[in-house]
């Protein structure tokens, strides 16, 4: 499962890449693979304030709908408009072209609540041992 080592991760399988106080947010390879073909992305509103680990948007795949949680608190400065026309971009490029939103991070200390790439890798392994969380319906 592909992981970008210098990104930070949530237990809900979102990633954030922070540079100069602005975080780019998306979902991980694990998440896009579990969801399957993504057919709809609800883009969050620019200028909206979001709280860490609060739902800030939603995705739909052919057969399911999923809430997406913000990895950190802050103000949304930009959303990936391309996803409206081409939600499959997340499937094809979840760590790059399929980013969802940019957040002006309000509290850098919150980063300590997130997993590093290595920690997320171990977390995925622990999920594998405990059973796939997406297959228990």
């Amino acid at each position: 499962m592909e992981i970008v080592q210098h990104y930070l991760y949530t237990k809900e399988h979102e990633w954030i890449s922070i540079e100069d106080g602005v975080g780019i947010v998306g979902i991980t390879e694990y998440a896009q693979s579990a969801l399957g073909d993504i057919t709809f992305v609800e883009l969050p509103k620019v200028d909206a304030e979001v709280e860490q680990f609060e739902q800030f948007t939603a995705l739909e795949s052919v057969k399911s709908a999923s809430d997406i949680f913000s990895p950190m608190s802050g103000r949304i400065t930009e959303v990936n408009e391309e996803l409206s026309e081409d939600p499959g971009l997340i499937n094809r490029s979840c760590y790059d072209k399929g980013w969802i939103a940019k957040i002006e991070v309000s509290d850098m200390d919150e980063a300590s609540n997130l997993m590093t790439g290595a920690e997320y890798e171990s977390y995925l392994e622990s999920l594998g041992r405990g059973g796939d969380p997406d297959s228990d319906e």
Partner: protein, 366 residues
């Protein structure tokens, strides 16, 4: 929580080798999708040729006269006048008119029938048939010995005739016994996707042989239960547990044409009472205004926000490019609504009520 072990079809290992994502369905461990994904699988079915493993489904053999055996009194469709070599779709009902299962009856000979039922209902159905068939019948559950492989799509005839010579003669909803790779088996021109297609009933322990022969044709793609559900919703076919249940009559589900009220069958009296005006619920088909899809569990609201029903099936439709849904609305909501709202506590979306089916360009009768 402990789970009872899931059954596996004879093609389980084949699915794993193909990289399928396996999920529980009706007590079986089945392929949800293959690595190409549901959208590509949808394309394969609507534009090319797709193959499904449906070996989990049940098959019963019944020998005896249509009426004297009791079979005619169990199913809603007319079978006494059914020609040998044809298939007829219908239901078995409980005395209250609710649906025990939906099923297809094949007339194999004047006094020999095959009944194909849903996987999750095999046990319940077998008990119901045994209880209501008379001593002038012979009932055999051949589910465990019978694999079923569905070849579906506009190219299905071209693919099939190379493997099953003569199969191209089959008309919609008929079947024949054909030699298929050394086995004489039933092949019917039936399916669950709205496309031209065939179902092959094959010996369980030799299923891999026929699957491999089909998949060897490069025009064919393996397709899973995920896309199967999308395809059947697009053409508004019912799925037991959604549009039909012990609590839902075929009349409420809009399937009256598969019920022959000119004969006697279990549940008929209740059905006659509840049909038409008096029916408790009405089925409704609707399309979302965008790509966002209705989902089972969503409620249906009138435009003024009053809850009027529930969504039983919903998906994004790759063919239409929007969300589509099927639900039931209360009879009090009598004026045929043109627009409704669907959603839950967080989400409310407008939808337009449409006539079934959603997708009208299928090659079913090509």
């Amino acid at each position: 929580m402990s789970q009872s072990p899931l059954f596996r079809t004879p093609l389980y290992d084949v699915h794993l080798k193909l990289g399928a994502k396996m999920v529980p369905f009706g007590g079986w461990e089945m392929p949800l999708q293959y690595p190409e994904g549901i959208l590509k699988e949808h394309d394969a079915n609507r534009k090319g040729c797709s193959v499904f493993d449906c070996s989990h489904m049940g098959e019963f053999l019944i020998e005896g006269d249509a009426q004297a055996s009791g079979l005619d009194g169990i199913v809603t469709q007319s079978i006494a006048a059914q020609p040998v070599g044809t298939c007829r779709y219908g239901m078995a009902l409980n005395p209250q008119g609710g649906t025990i299962d939906d099923l297809i009856v094949y007339r194999l000979a004047p006094e020999k029938w095959m009944v194909v039922v849903n996987a999750s209902n095999i046990g319940k159905d077998a008990a119901h048939f045994r209880a209501h068939l008379t001593s002038r019948s012979k009932f055999t559950d051949i589910s465990a010995a019978t694999a079923k492989i569905d070849v579906q799509g506009p190219l299905a005839r071209d693919v099939m005739k190379a493997i099953v010579p003569g199969v191209e003669r089959l008309e919609h909803y008929t079947f024949g016994v054909f030699p298929v790779l050394g086995e004489d088996v039933i092949v019917s021109r039936t399916g669950y996707t709205g496309e031209l297609g065939y179902e092959i009933y094959y010996p369980w322990d030799k299923a891999e042989r026929i699957w491999s022969a089909i998949i060897a044709d490069r025009r064919v793609r393996p397709t899973g239960l995920g896309v199967r559900d999308v395809l059947r919703i697009e053409v508004s076919y019912p799925l037991y547990g959604h549009e039909l249940s012990e609590d839902i009559s075929p009349v409420e589900a809009g399937l009256k044409r598969f019920v022959d009220l000119n004969k006697e069958f279990i549940g008929k009296a209740s059905l006659a009472k509840s049909s038409g005006e008096g029916s408790g619920r009405r089925i409704v088909h609707f399309i979302s205004q965008n790509r966002r899809a209705p989902r089972q569990g969503h409620r249906i609201f009138s435009l003024d926000g009053a809850p009027v029903g529930d969504v039983v099936s919903g998906t994004f439709s790759p063919a239409l490019g929007v969300g589509i849904g099927i639900g039931f609305i209360k009879k009090e909501f009598t004026d045929s609504p043109k627009e409704i709202i669907f959603g839950d506590e967080k989400l409310k979306l407008a939808a337009q009520v449409v006539a079934r089916p959603f997708y009208k360009d299928g090659t079913l009768k090509a």
